[in-house]
């Protein structure tokens, strides 16, 4: 049966739009607005080896997904950023074309990666040929299988596609990108001799949960690229949200980038950048290490959101003795509390089976749900029941 997931959607070549970056800094920050453009002084760049690939990359790379103007990418390359990442599906291919134009004449100085979400060898190789054409290059330095969440997603057929491309000289290294399910997936990738690079969501809101598997993969020689290093950890936030506005203040985004870079197992990062100010800001992460003030800043942010913010990690699945779908209920509460969409939250709540909607947390003397991220689950569930029931 066909899979109705978005991943299959991608195989069909349908648009997956331009992305925004919740990671970008304030658009109305006066200290950035008023600042004259500084001369292009040579910044202090830091380099790391990308696993066993032999590629030497700046510790801050460039995630091009949300970039809408080629000038930002062009300037980043001139400054000395050496790693640029895009994907076949970003802006339905428009992003690859823009990246290719921006990096024209600079290709030999930089490492370039793209991705395919195809599910068959033929479709993946067709994607690769399109990527090469749109990017105006004869090879990719890294070609990722896009957005895999479990070991079964990384099929022998797709690995074979990467090997075929490698033999044809169309790619130098094979990679896999993953946004979730990393604790199961990364160890499998680490053990696969055909995988050279792992691109994973990694940020401070995850705490140390991914560190062991990332360290093991790195020790196995895999290059580790971190994405969603900043507000990726707050993927539900967007400009205008209270949380977004809180998070972007006081250099928290730079602190978050530094948090990712303090891990010796992270070879490079690919923060999204939409403008010159964001680029200048992110460059600072290479020169300044993670400081006590960064730690305090992030801790403050985490403290503020940790009791409320569900990471949707799924670890609470099935843990409620009364059978409550905990993550779902927390999400419904987010609609009301986080987005001011009470009616939507209530609508979802009322769609629950009657026996679930009838459950009241007040009736339990103890709660069997323990959130590994510190969300005060029973308190939040009680609020959901009070609001919606």
């Amino acid at each position: 049966m066909p899979d109705s997931s978005r991943r299959n959607f991608l195989v069909a070549g349908l648009a997956v739009p331009a992305a925004a970056s919740a990671a970008r800094s304030s658009a109305d920050d006066p200290k950035h607005d008023a600042a004259p453009r500084p001369p292009l002084a040579p910044p202090q760049l830091r380099y790391r080896m990308l696993g066993d690939t032999g590629l030497k990359v700046t510790s801050v790379g460039f995630g091009c997904m949300v970039t809408s103007d080629a000038s930002v990418i062009e300037r980043a390359a001139d400054i000395g950023i050496t790693y640029f990442d895009t994907a076949r599906v970003y802006q339905s291919g428009n992003n690859e074309r823009m990246v290719g134009a921006a990096l024209k004449g600079k290709r030999q100085k930089i490492a370039l990666s793209s991705k395919s979400g195809a599910q068959t060898k033929a479709a993946a190789l067709a994607d690769l040929d399109t990527s090469l054409r749109e990017l105006g290059t004869d090879h990719l330095d890294i070609w990722y299988l896009h957005a895999k969440t479990k070991p079964a997603d990384v099929t022998d057929e797709l690995i074979d596609a990467q090997q075929t491309a490698k033999k044809a000289g169309k790619i130098r290294f094979a990679g896999v990108s993953t946004h979730s399910g990393q604790t199961d997936l990364i160890p499998v990738l680490a053990a696969n001799p055909h995988i050279d690079v792992i691109l994973t969501a990694y940020n401070f809101s995850m705490g140390q949960t991914l560190d062991p598997v990332i360290a093991a993969a790195h020790a196995a020689g895999k290059g580790i690229v971190a994405m969603k290093v900043m507000a990726g950890g707050f993927r539900n936030t967007k400009p205008g949200d209270k949380l977004y506005n809180t998070f972007k203040k006081d250099g928290a985004l730079l602190s978050a980038l530094r948090w990712a870079l303090k891990s010796a197992d992270i070879d490079t990062t690919i923060p999204s950048m939409t403008d010159m100010d964001q680029l200048d800001e992110n460059l600072k992460a290479m020169t300044g290490g993670f400081t006590k003030s960064d730690e305090v800043l992030l801790a403050r942010q985490l403290e503020r959101i940790a009791p409320l913010y569900c990471r949707m990690c799924g670890q609470c699945d099935g843990s409620c003795a009364k059978g409550l779908p905990v993550a779902d209920l927390l999400r419904y509460l987010t609609y009301a509390d986080g987005y001011g969409q009470f009616s939507l939250g209530r609508e979802r709540f009322l769609e629950l089976p009657a026996e679930v909607a009838r459950v009241r947390c007040d009736a339990c003397s103890t709660c069997t749900v323990n959130c590994p991220h510190g969300v005060r689950v029973s308190e939040r569930l009680r609020r959901a029941q009070e609001l919606f029931a």
Partner: protein, 278 residues
């Protein structure tokens, strides 16, 4: 029992047409022979990531409100239909403009569409619609039929954003709504950019003439340039990345051209563009 069935049918019909924040729900019976596979999809800003990982961020940037989708099957073919609702028509058109292939012809579908053998995108009012077909073959007839039916289901206007008319059509390669940082400048928060062989035209609208003037002052400080001798407040300069460019202030708008090729006058182009604005 019959009453309950009728009530459910009425409720379903009402939901399908309800222009609520979740938007109209696409159906598979919009085209003969197609049936729904699996449950309908419904996503909001808070969980869109679960459907499309990091790409969800692009929807959020354009003011995504909700998405409803279904997967339809017919024989061995499947078509996914996703209808996304945005805050307003400009934003929905912005999503469309970011994802259309400017090299392919536009289609008369809603306020604008594009049809390829396995894919359709179009926009109407505050809705952005995507259809994708499997397996790999020409699905154009089915895609056209279902797209037309979905388009009828959507309420609202098929008018394109008024801003599109501001840009000269002659030689225009593309026009897009940039949701933030126009020209890669954070100062220029949101605006339209049209690409031409000889450069990029842009229009950024500020909430008021005063705030637009303040942005111009900041631009002047940023680029460290003086005021050009033009009949309206303007600045003209050459930038390493934006090349030859000119900004002109007109009411709440900042308009201009960037990356202007030799042989063309950025100030004259910008002035002509400003004259087209209300």
């Amino acid at each position: 029992m019959i009453g309950r069935i009728v009530a459910r049918a009425l409720l379903a019909a009402a939901l399908a047409l309800l222009p609520a924040q979740a938007g109209p729900v696409p159906r598979c019976d919009l085209a003969p022979g197609w049936t729904q596979q699996g449950a309908a999809r419904a996503y909001e800003a808070s969980n869109l990531f679960e459907y499309m990982d990091g790409n969800a961020e692009g929807y959020l940037l354009y003011g995504f409100v909700a998405m409803h989708g279904v997967t339809c099957v017919h024989g061995g073919d499947s078509i996914l239909i996703d209808v996304s609702e945005f805050g307003d028509g400009d934003s929905a058109y912005g999503m469309f403009s970011a994802n259309r292939d400017p090299r392919l012809p536009a289609e008369t579908l809603g306020a604008g569409g594009q049809v390829t053998p396995r894919r359709v995108i179009f926009t109407k009012d505050r809705f952005y619609v995507e259809l994708a077909a499997n397996p790999d073959k020409d699905h154009t007839p089915a895609l056209r039929a279902i797209s037309a039916a979905v388009e009828k289901l959507l309420p609202g206007s098929t008018a394109v954003p008024a801003a599109l008319a501001w840009f000269p059509a002659d030689g225009q390669k593309s026009v897009r709504l940039i949701p933030e940082s126009v020209l890669g400048l954070r100062l220029l928060r949101r605006g339209y950019v049209a690409e031409y062989e000889f450069g990029k035209a842009f229009v950024v609208e500020e909430p008021s003439p005063e705030s637009a003037a303040a942005v111009m002052d900041k631009l002047r400080a940023r680029f460290e340039v003086g005021q050009a001798s033009l009949p309206v407040p303007a600045l003209q300069l050459t930038d390493r990345y934006l090349d030859r460019l000119c900004f002109i202030l007109k009411g709440p708008y900042i308009v201009g051209y960037a990356n202007v090729a030799e042989g063309n006058d950025p100030a004259a182009l910008a002035h002509a563009l400003a004259a087209r604005l209300p």
